[in-house]
Symmetry: C2
């Protein structure tokens, strides 16, 4: 296949992770999630739970704190160090061969490759809440909680990539998992990967 | 097929119109573009050229003018009248049977139907300028011109739908025609239409 890597960014509860996992199985290539956490924890010495939590949420505990956060000259923050090491892990894993990576700004980290398909998955709140309840057995998610988690992902993405998270123009494709369904999303991406797509048919002048 | 209508919104020069036309041919269903203009011109008595131009750009000549525009109680503006009649034409055409419609807020106008697939097409400026030069033999498009035309489409959409044009969450799917290519975009949408997709598998609570 011409597309060798698929990165999936996703709204919380939209099924992006499930889509990534099923896609990787169908393509017969690795799906990296735990490996990134484990290897980043090993490289940084940080606890896996910390890496798991902070790996997508930068230093922000809430949007207000984030809005006022900035790098200073007194030393690297643990979050920046985590980002730097996690980035290395993602590049190393990608160098091993084709794979599917969910979240963690992988689209940005692998941006110089022409064989990466970048996808964003979104869904309406009702679908996401129902899904979270069914899959994670957690009925306690309100609209506000979904919004807060997405906001943290968005801030983290903006902080490290200076791009807008979820903006259609930043992805090859965005899909609504609520209206299309998880399996169709998998099929659509699979068919593109199976094809002989060479990205960027028009070279920048 | 379960999906009977495809609406395509698109950045100027991204190839959305070509995608819509090729898709309709492949599906063997009508592609409405000129018909909407002709029938709206007939209904309103306005010139076709005016309908063509204003049908997607509301009353705005520029963003500043638009920002200060508002409906008043002295009577309906010609643009609102045009919108109203164009909306009727789109609903009438859709009632005739499956079709592909490009632009003109058709996604919003047909929003109550579950058998409509809403797609947004975008592309980087280099691709769009190259395309405009090749297809329309018009090499004079600058980045600013592309931005201005998109801004007008965006304002028009916001004015009549109160939604954000091009925002991934407002569409079932957004596609980058520069990286994926026009034909692959056609194929992806075609395969979805050929399937038995029933939209909104999860009903709003």
């Amino acid at each position: 296949m011409s597309i060798k890597y698929v990165t999936i960014s996703r709204e919380y509860g939209s099924g992006g992770r499930e889509i990534g996992k099923k896609l990787a199985e169908k393509l017969g290539i690795p799906f990296y999630d735990k490996e990134i956490i484990e290897q980043t924890a090993f490289k940084t010495g940080f606890a896996e739970e910390y890496v798991k939590k902070q790996g997508e949420y930068a230093s922000a505990r809430n949007w207000l704190e984030y809005s006022f956060s900035a790098r200073n000259s007194y030393g690297m923050s643990p979050e920046d160090y985590l980002w730097s090491k996690q980035r290395e892990v993602i590049i190393d894993l990608a160098n091993k061969g084709p794979c599917v990576i969910v979240g963690r700004c992988a689209d940005y980290i692998l941006r110089d490759r022409a064989d990466v398909l970048n996808v964003f998955i979104h869904a309406n709140n009702e679908y996401r809440k129902k899904r979270i309840t069914e899959i994670y057995h957690d009925p306690g998610h309100s609209d506000k909680m979904l919004k807060d988690i997405d906001k943290k992902r968005s801030f983290n993405y903006k902080y490290y990539t200076e791009q807008e998270w979820g903006k259609s123009q930043n992805y090859d494709m965005t899909l609504d998992s609520a209206t299309l369904g998880v399996d169709l999303c998998v099929d659509i991406i699979y068919e593109i990967c199976r094809g002989d797509l060479t990205k960027n048919p028009v070279v920048t002048e």
